[in-house]
Symmetry: C2
Subunit: 102 residues, 2 copies
DNA sequence: CTAATATGCAACTGATATGTTGCATATCTC
DNA sequence: GAGATATGCAACATATCAGTTGCATATTAG
């Protein structure tokens, strides 16, 4: 699950798109296009990847689609990092305990 | 810079390798192999990707190479998420202020 | 010196990603 | 209804990735 999130964030275009959505709020594809060096199809593809990863929600309104940043997915990724750091820290703790016993 | 980190983490094998390094401490390639369904060359490739992203440090000792988890790269990625959340939160704040002025 | 061990390098295959183009569909506006 | 707008779908070329295989190199152990 987190692999999808990390993959979505491994592209500079998608990072930029997500930042714009977080800063600027819900927007259509075309609004997002302006300021990003990408074609419409390219942006659409990036948006669908972000959406599959759960980082973006979309809502169809008439002929246009409103894309919105979804902060929930971010906590998943942060949790993964927290687990990693916990694994690291608890190893250091174990080492220190062993050392103090000698 | 963070794109490389996220890319490195977008593969389940590499996630697993990194967790093992954090839990088990410095190890050689062959030690890491046991328990992961991958060939030596596959694991080597994954390790070099993790290293290019800064998530793993390596040190040559005699004929073997000791790979080690590098926690510094993790803070970079966490900072990126923090910036994203800050962009999101400050937008919500702005909306709330606008609302209260009416 | 010889064996075994740990690793590197290079080539190859199949799969996936990225970006582009052309055409089709649905909705809004006038 | 006609034209403009927002989007979808599909095909294609190029690049990169993942995984495998075979051979070469360097270091250690006996």
């Amino acid at each position: 699950m987190t692999t999808q999130i990390f993959f979505a964030l491994s592209d500079p275009h998608r990072q930029e798109i997500l930042l714009r959505l977080a800063r600027g709020g819900p927007q259509t594809t075309l609004t997002l296009l302006k300021g990003i060096g990408a074609t419409r199809q390219g942006a659409t593809r990036h948006l669908s990847i972000l959406e599959e990863a759960g980082l973006v929600k979309s809502e169809k309104r008439g002929r246009e689609i409103i894309r919105e940043f979804n902060p929930e997915a971010v906590t998943l990724a942060q949790q993964w990092f927290a687990d990693l750091e916990h694994a690291w820290d608890s190893r250091l703790d174990r080492l220190r305990q062993q050392y103090e016993q000698e």
